[in-house]
Amino acid sequence: MHKNKRLLNRHSISLYTNKPLPSIKSNKEKKREKKMRLLTHNMLSSNIKGVTNGFPLRIQVEKVVENQVEINHDFLRNIFPKIHWKAFSDASRILGYNQLPEEPPEPSVLESDVDFLGKFHHALLELHLEEGALFCPETGRKFPVTKGIPNMLLLEDEV
């Protein structure tokens, strides 16, 4: 068994390292990479042991980017009823976008109001938090957002 295990490890190491490191990309190209969007923020909460009001996470902005994404009406209609509107529109303002109403709109606007659909789409999928952090509203614990990926892993004593 021991021998097999060693072989296995060597195998995985070679898989991870046998490719040459890719060259550094220009800044312009880097911008195309996608970052944390408000859809993700709307779904996350702090799940530290003992915390009861871990939602919504407070956003600290270091860098926001906007990327054009093709609009998908079916997806927007599908996801709309699942959005916590207050948290969503508040978060969009923190990222510097002030076009969303504070009160949750009637679902019927999705069918009739193309203008609203565009705004909803923009805030949900085109605003990206590239660098920053999310903070637990109860304990103030910081969850860093690096390269658009929120790190929600807890420390040993928070589990």
Partner: protein, 479 residues
């Protein structure tokens, strides 16, 4: 109407489940999405074994048959059968007696056509193929031949009886089929996605063909949101995105989701490589303690994943060894070290992992949403059917086994959410969660799959031979 469905002769266990999932997706059972009990009617050609590539299937419309065949990975073609027989006289007889109103619209002088001769289990030379095509001259073809882009494709398919093979009964008997093609699979995109051309790979990246099969089982489609809690290099989500679904993924390993192997070699670049829309979200999170907000439920249309079974890659969860073993009292991180502290993780047994997965899926899937995942089984067990995980919210609709070694297989399970996630279920899951946490060591000791798969074979080889013979037999290495 009955159609002749010809499958590729690979991944035999996956063929019908894929077909049925797609039939369901395209509305073969009406718009009623909760019709998971409905099944298609299947029929085999005379004396064919269920492993035969030839099947007859009843479908409500040709339109549906075409859509299904075009989307499928394992359907070679679906045909309107004009005739079949044990020899060419019988075939001629059958084609002649097939109603003219079904035949004549496809034989008109303003149409173009092509006849393809295909054989299963034997090779026909070009000369033999031409001979057989000339033998079809009793059919009144009025149109012109067009080999590149015909209006109508006709197929002549021939099989011979086979000897028994490796103790298995023959799959086909001699039979000749002639029919008009309704639709065929486009497998051209599979080589494009094959792993050897993929930018960013890990040791457990999912094979492209299998990933597409998983996405079909999950009925990935435009407008849907698909989640993979063990996203790794994103190989499963790539296939879901190919079929138009929005994707979201999480992984506990920050190296995988954050850095990959450089700025142009990470999960994002795998999507960019194929011009697919990026995942709507990637995060680092623990499947054992998912960070979803309270009250959030029924957001994902499908969850597709390949959980870590502890053979090629082991699962990890947060908590750390020290806390769980309880060797050094309650574990605390000093305040000055918190910012850069890298939390240690604990081993995550398959049992707990699957329990968490089912609980997460029960909560986060929409009604009639699908959970598709691989589950390993030791082949010695024999009666594997009885050991699949269960959950009161889910109905198991398909199981497809893929053999990985002589010791173990993995089975693709497809489950459909058929009841709502209730408060009681949430509470029961929470109790179970704590039970796992408190008995962490016991679960680890209960033998891992890794040791069963890699331990040397029994020295006392007397009974190992017996067990080898009692194992189910398989056809071919892909089966």
């Amino acid at each position: 109407m009955w159609y002749l469905c010809v499958f590729y002769h690979r991944l035999l266990d996956f063929r019908k489940p894929e077909f049925e999932s797609l039939a369901h997706l395209f509305g073969a059972f009406g718009d009623n999405r909760s019709s998971h009990d409905s099944v298609l009617q299947w029929r085999l050609p005379k004396d064919h074994h269920p492993n035969s590539p030839f099947h007859f299937v009843h479908l409500p419309s040709e339109e549906l048959a075409r859509k299904l065949a075009n989307r499928s990975i394992l359907v070679k073609g679906i045909y309107e059968l004009w005739g079949e027989g044990n020899d060419y006289e019988e075939l001629e007889e059958a084609v002649k007696s097939y109603p003219d109103e079904r035949k004549l619209p496809y034989l008109g002088s303003e149409t173009t056509f092509k006849i393809t001769v295909d054989s299963f289990g034997k090779v026909l030379s070009l000369q033999q193929q031409n001979q057989r095509i000339e033998g079809l001259s009793f059919i009144p073809f009025k149109g012109r031949v067009n080999l590149k882009n015909p209006d109508h494709n006709f197929w002549l398919m021939e099989t011979d009886a086979h000897e028994t093979n490796n103790g298995l009964p023959p799959v086909v008997q001699r039979r000749i089929f002639f029919g008009r093609e309704v639709g065929g699979a486009d497998r051209k995109f599979i080589p494009m996605y094959q792993l050897k051309t993929r930018n960013y790979l890990g040791p457990t990246s999912m094979d492209a063909e299998m990933a597409f099969l998983m996405a079909n089982q999950a009925q990935a489609a435009p407008g849907k949101l698909v989640y993979d809690p063990f996203v790794g290099t994103g190989s499963i989500l790539v296939s879901a995105a190919h079929f138009g679904a929005m994707t979201m993924g999480a992984d506990i390993d920050i190296r995988v989701v954050l850095d990959g192997r450089g700025p142009d070699c990470n999960v994002w670049s795998n999507f960019k490589q194929y011009g697919l829309p990026m995942p709507v979200g990637l995060l680092r999170a623990d499947n054992n303690l998912p960070p979803w907000r309270p009250g959030l439920k029924e957001v994902f249309d499908a969850i597709i994943c390949d959980p870590p079974y502890g053979v090629r890659a082991g699962g990890r969860k947060s908590g750390g060894r020290k806390l769980l073993k309880g060797i050094i009292g309650p574990y605390t991180v000093p305040d000055d070290k918190r910012a850069d502290h890298i939390p240690s993780t604990a081993a995550y047994t398959l049992v707990e992992c699957v329990h968490d997965l089912l609980d997460l899926a029960a909560r986060m899937l929409v009604m009639n949403g699908r959970l598709v995942f691989f589950y390993p089984v030791l082949r010695e067990d024999g009666s594997a059917e009885n050991h699949f995980p269960e959950h009161p919210c889910f109905k198991l609709v398909a199981t497809s086994e893929q053999m990985l070694s002589s010791r173990y297989s993995r089975v693709l399970l497809t489950m459909v959410k058929t009841s709502l996630y209730t408060e009681e279920l949430a509470l029961a899951a929470k109790i179970k969660h704590l039970e796992f946490k408190e008995n962490h060591l016991k679960w680890l000791e209960d033998g891992t799959l890794h040791s069963s798969v890699f331990s040397p074979s029994d020295a006392e080889s007397g009974d190992s031979k017996v067990s080898r013979e009692s194992k189910p037999k398989y056809r071919g290495k892909y089966v």
